[in-house]
């Protein structure tokens, strides 16, 4: 029962956030139909198509993990690890300082 009550509150909170996002999109005129691509963009697309045909750009089917592109996953992990390490280091330093200050005050 408590779980259901909390779930309702969470769904409401999420709905409010999504609703505000929708309002924002509406206010900035972002919900309208997509704009037609510019001539430059069409030219670029044509160039990409040619590159795909020539084999310069490789396209793979999109039905699973692309194990060849693990670099992408590794980069994400590296960013997360670096940020987590920074926060943990700051937390350890802060705690040590706090402890030292307490020890000094006691002495």
């Amino acid at each position: 029962m408590k779980f259901l009550r909390h779930l309702t509150a969470v769904v409401l909170a999420v709905a409010v956030i999504v609703g505000l996002g929708m309002l924002w999109a509406h206010a900035s005129g972002g919900t309208g139909p997509r704009q037609a691509p510019s001539p430059e963009m069409l030219l670029r697309l044509q160039h990409i198509k040619e590159q795909v045909k020539a084999g310069v750009i490789r396209v793979h089917s999109d039905n699973g993990f692309h194990l060849a592109d693990t670099g992408n996953l590794i980069r994400t992990c590296e960013i997360e690890a670096a940020l987590a390490a920074a926060v943990i280091t700051a937390s350890v330093v802060r705690r040590r300082r706090h402890r030292m200050r307490r020890t000094t005050a006691r002495a």
Partner: protein, 185 residues
């Protein structure tokens, strides 16, 4: 959304009400603590791994990326529901002095906003998952931009959110390492 100390308090408060008669209150309490801790730990780990995979679009491909994102949304709802007590308690305490709790609350609020908007915008620009279900979302450049921005913001906030509770994570991991099935601890 979790305050390690508050959760520890929750586990102790929850212990003992529906335990088998054969167990002593202490043992039963420990068993219940472990069940909730296990759920929190694995759900949080699942969220972290799922987000890391979902962000690595080049690794997963668009179809897996979209289905992962939708699944992430469901697990996020459960995660928030499990920690709603913490949200209410910390929000009430916001006016009191004490920097760390306020900082954690702010990080969590930002993460809630960015992750919700990231998943919602992802659904609105879906190219594979929703069309597979026969739904064609009204994609727009606004939601595409929103998805990119909130995904990057979430990538920054997720490790900060996890690292703020690193003591809890290390503590639970240690307990898992020492824990053997069949023993209460």
């Amino acid at each position: 959304m979790r305050g390690a100390a508050t959760l520890r308090h929750d586990w102790l408060m929850n212990a003992g009400s529906t335990t088998p008669a054969a167990d002593s209150p202490v043992t039963a309490g420990r068993r219940r603590i472990l069940a909730r801790t296990r759920l929190d730990f694995w759900l949080d780990a699942l969220l972290l791994v799922a987000y890391t995979l979902a962000y690595s679009l080049g690794f997963t491909g668009i179809a897996t990326h979209e289905w992962l994102g939708i699944g992430l949304g469901v697990v996020l709802l459960v995660h928030l529901t499990l920690h709603w007590d913490w949200v209410i308690r910390t929000t009430r305490k916001l006016l009191r002095p004490g920097g760390r709790e306020r900082f954690v609350w702010l990080v969590n609020l930002l993460l809630l906003l960015s992750m919700t908007l990231c998943i919602a915008s992802g659904i609105l620009i879906s190219e594979v998952a929703l069309p597979q279900l026969g739904i064609t979302p009204p994609a727009s450049s606004f939601w595409r931009q929103m998805h990119g921005t909130t995904a990057t913001l979430t990538l920054i906030l997720v490790p900060i959110h996890a690292a703020l509770d690193w003591r809890w994570i290390v503590g639970v991991a240690r307990r898992f390492a020492a824990w053997r099935p069949g023993r209460s601890r």
